[in-house]
Amino acid sequence: MVSSFQRYIINKTATYIVLWFLAAFLNFLLPRIMPGDPIGRYLETLYNMGQGTTGGIVQVVPEAEKLRQQVIEQFGLDKPPYTQFFLWLINFLRGDWGYSLAFPNLPPVIDLVKQYLPPTLMLLIPSLVISWVVGNYLGAYMALKGGKVDKIGLSSMQFISLIPAYWLIIVLVFIFGVYYKILPVSGKPGYMIPSLSFDYIKALLYHWILPMTTITLIGIGGWSIGMRAYVIYQLNANYMKYSKALGLPQRVLGRYAFRNAIIPQFIAFAMSFGGLFAGNLLVEMVYGYPGMGSLLSMILGRLDIFGMQAIFTFTATMILVANYVADIMYGFLDPRIRRGITEVVE
């Protein structure tokens, strides 16, 4: 007999696998049902490149014709749709994500992701952690303090959280880059080739400060509003009134409230990854920071169908994994799930 918690985990695992299939299927389907047949266009471009007829715009790649054949074979583009889907899925899982049209040398998409993902993670993870910690602290502080602190704090946090990130970075760039000239006006670390060298990392860090500040600031706004609401909810709960009636001091009540309010915030931490990733894309695109956002903007600009498919599927995978982790974590944190809900009958 499986415990209810095990059942919870199995349930969630199954759900997320289904969700992943759905996301992958959507990604497979969309380009194929869109008007204008992007895949045809993709192959056509490759064909043209093989023929060397596109001339001045795209550099002619001799092996493009070979590549075209390879793509048709690899993705079974001459086979029926369902075979195509499974072939595509298997290829995706194996890391064969096709070749990107967005770059003249037609690199494999997976190599691009390997190159552009680390700078993005370098932005996302620290900003997520910092804004989560600071935001929760601020939110709890506002809620527990009440009065003016709460009123002013809440209004300003609401305001901050409503600033579009892609605009805030413009303002920050103007202040620190254009006016004071202490930070770079664009996210591109010069003409350096992305590598693991010390110089490159130093340059990257220098260009990392502004986007990092932007998404962290806005993140703090969101987290603190959420935490404040949760803490206030807890403070108004009946168990809080009862604990107070039993003479437990204010600091203990605050601790109870914080402990119960932080559980949903833990979950939200992992779940926010997707939204943050999306918001971050815009910041990167606007600032030109060499992360997934910039990559995506190049790929979208060139209508690089395989690039899009792969990156969207990869992003969806990352987000689903984050949410899956969050759900499992929730199960561990909340005793109502960990120990199972049992209807106790006397």
Partner: protein, 321 residues
């Protein structure tokens, strides 16, 4: 007496509980009884006895798992659309919470006028509404034109009864209709119900956890315990001589002014409780608390038996076979 107006035959309702681990709970377990026209019947039970489920099944709001409800010879759960309209005219209900029984968006008038439109098309709304409000002893001018949150629980519950009376039903199911009304006005609603039975030959099933009110006003009494009927019969007989230990307990536990009242059964029940027995699956549901339980009670299910005229009990203590 003749043909009963309502008969319940082997009614069972099972609920599945829990998402992760399914458990099945029998809210009603093989219930059968008959009700004659013009009787004021009380269905008494504590929370978890299944009394509200029973009310909802009779009112055709919750489907039963098995068994049947026969009203005037027709199976209530297999009525045609037209028969259902007839059934709604004949059988009406009043619910527990007067505050949620009315749509907060509308004035209370609407509940009444809609009922007139649906059930008595062509009749003068105003006349019907005023008459029916007067019959539940409300001053129409005091309640009409008001929103539900502007009225007291007692007033709302009377309007709910008035609404139920509009189609001139034969059977009224009153599900815990006094439990949320102020203490000092409960008895008036029970009195009103008694008068409806006496004056209009209506049949009323009053579902309640208040033994006291049931003993005070009703003709017949059905005592439920954990989805089963434990005792059923003439209220006066039950008041004078309750047979089932659970009924005895319920009556004995009623609060009295007398300080030194002896509560033998209750005391014994409390002692029995300390033994920490668990509920029997095969036998009598009350056995684990019963001060008189024998081994048989735990192993064999007692059946409802007529001990006296109009007095049934399901208990091995009274088994004559």
């Amino acid at each position: 007496m003749g043909e009963p107006i309502l008969s319940i035959n082997n009614l069972t309702k099972t609920y599945a509980l829990g998402l992760a681990r399914r458990r099945y709970v029998k809210a009603l377990d093989n219930i059968s009884f008959k009700i004659n026209k013009g009787e004021f019947v009380s269905l008494v039970g504590e929370s978890g006895s299944g009394k509200t489920t029973l009310a909802r099944i009779i009112l055709r709001l919750t489907p039963p798992s098995s068994g049947e409800v026969i009203y005037k010879g027709k199976n209530v759960w297999s009525l045609s659309d037209e028969e259902l309209r007839w059934y709604r005219k004949e059988v009406q209900g009043v619910f527990q919470d007067p505050y949620t029984s009315f749509n907060p968006f509308y004035k209370v008038d609407r509940a009444l006028s809609v009922a007139v439109k649906k059930f008595l098309p062509g009749e003068d709304e105003h006349v019907v509404i005023r008459k029916v409000l007067e019959s539940v002893r409300l001053n129409p001018d005091e309640v009409l034109g008001r929103y539900p949150h502007q009225l007291s629980g007692g007033q709302l519950q009377r309007i709910a009864i008035a609404r139920a009376l509009i189609p001139r039903p034969e059977l009224l199911i009153a599900d815990e209709y006094i439990s949320m009304v102020d203490m000092s006005t409960r008895v008036d609603i029970v009195n009103l119900s008694r008068d409806l039975v006496d004056q209009y030959k209506m049949t009323i099933i009053m579902i309640t956890h208040e033994m006291n009110m049931a003993l005070y006003a009703t003709d017949k009494m059905i005592v439920l315990f954990k989805g089963r009927i434990v005792e059923y019969g003439d209220t006066k007989k039950i008041l004078k001589d309750p047979l089932h230990p659970y009924t005895q307990l319920m009556i004995e536990a009623l609060p009295r002014i007398d300080k030194n009242i002896e509560r033998k059964i209750l005391q014994k029940t409390l002692d029995a409780q300390k033994k920490g027995l668990t509920e029997s699956v095969r036998g009598c549901r009350f056995a684990y608390r019963c001060p008189f339980a024998t081994e048989r009670c735990f192993n064999e299910d007692p059946v409802l038996e007529e001990i006296d005229k109009d007095h049934y009990v399901a208990c091995w203590l009274h088994n004559r076979r």
